[in-house]
Symmetry: C2
Subunit: 190 residues, 2 copies
DNA sequence: TCCAGTTGCTAGCGCCGCTAGATGTAGGAG
DNA sequence: CTCCTACATCTAGCGGCGCTAGCAACTGGA
């Protein structure tokens, strides 16, 4: 029994090592640099070992994305918790969201741009995604009026996501960023 | 002289054929299906011919994106021209933008998600992109108040882009789409 | 002590973007 | 009309990709 549990533990550790290596490599050099060969070398095992843990490269990226959703949720919770004024809360949460995306671009890509449909059908993404979404919802609730809170939240979220992605792809210049964010916050907190 | 002009004409036609083949294939089967081998087969030339027209696959995608920017601009111009009421104009232009992205997902990807920095440094993208941007600006101008019109336009654009991309990647369910769009329009036309 | 089952490896398949070097062709000079 | 040069195009191949079949080695139980 004990050797078996040790094996299971070691196996779980190796799985975590794979995810960590993928994440680190993606953050350092972008997802193009994350190949199954490099990952295998990083964890000091051969390539096929990866496939005993994950169905394929997409599944590895999805696992990284899952971590990202948990972190994003925590980030938003923290940002909102430290403010009392509702308008300021919207501004702070929005800023925290954008900062999260800017500081971990590869992570944000895995969550929202790549790995299109993998994590949403199953596992614990819905939980962490819902945590983040709920936090956004609570932030804009004071300004929902008699409209649908969920719809408002989704639209606000889209605005943040659009700002992040358009700037990151160079379609928006970085300079006006703060002013754009201020406009978005203003339009969603009145 | 005349044979030379004929050659130049034929060469230009072949270049157009490459772009058209890439676009058609991407729209039909997605950009993953667009490989240099398939493109070469499509235009009935060998692979290296592609590289006498374009620096690489990215440049071909960029050329497709350039076409897309021109079409998007035309779409927006048409949408705004047919409405008198300013509020309704915002709604119609927004709807036209989203419809454009939904009906040509692969084209929209080439313009905004893939080929990250290629077309923006040169060529005629700025022109067509500016045409589209100007149209958005004129649409929201009545609601700019004494704020910066450019910043407002960029933020509105980000909202549209966010709605499009989050829905296309499955992060937003399709059902609430119309209501989200209505919220965005409402928040930017008051 | 031997056997069975698991674990990880080597090797390789079919694809990718891209390029070097060979080959054929067409236009101008003698 | 012939030859020669220059250009257009092709064949073949490089290194790398995601992924997998099939073999070797180790481990735990009979």
């Amino acid at each position: 029994m004990s050797t078996q549990t040790r094996r299971e533990r070691e196996r779980a550790e190796r799985e975590r090592a794979i995810i960590a290596a993928a994440r680190d490599l993606a953050l350092a050099e972008g997802w193009d640099a994350v190949t199954t060969r490099r990952l295998a070398a990083e964890i000091e095992y051969s390539q096929p070992v990866l496939y005993s843990h994950f169905k394929g490269k997409d599944a590895i990226m999805a696992a990284v994305a899952v971590e990202g959703f948990a972190e994003l949720a925590t980030t938003l919770v923290t940002a909102r918790a430290s403010v009392a004024d509702p308008r300021q809360a919207v501004a702070d949460v929005a800023a925290a969201y954008v900062r999260f995306a800017e500081q971990r671009p590869a992570l944000y890509d895995a969550m929202f741009t790549l790995a299109v449909d993998l994590p949403f059908a199953s596992s614990d993404v819905p939980t962490d995604l819902a945590r983040g979404f709920a936090e956004l919802a609570e932030t804009v609730r004071p300004f929902a009026g008699d409209g649908d809170l969920e719809v408002l939240t989704e639209t606000f979220w889209s605005g943040l996501h659009g700002l992040v992605t358009l700037m990151r792809s160079g379609r928006l210049r970085r300079e006006g960023h703060d002013r754009r964010l201020a406009v978005l916050v203003d339009r969603f907190s009145r």
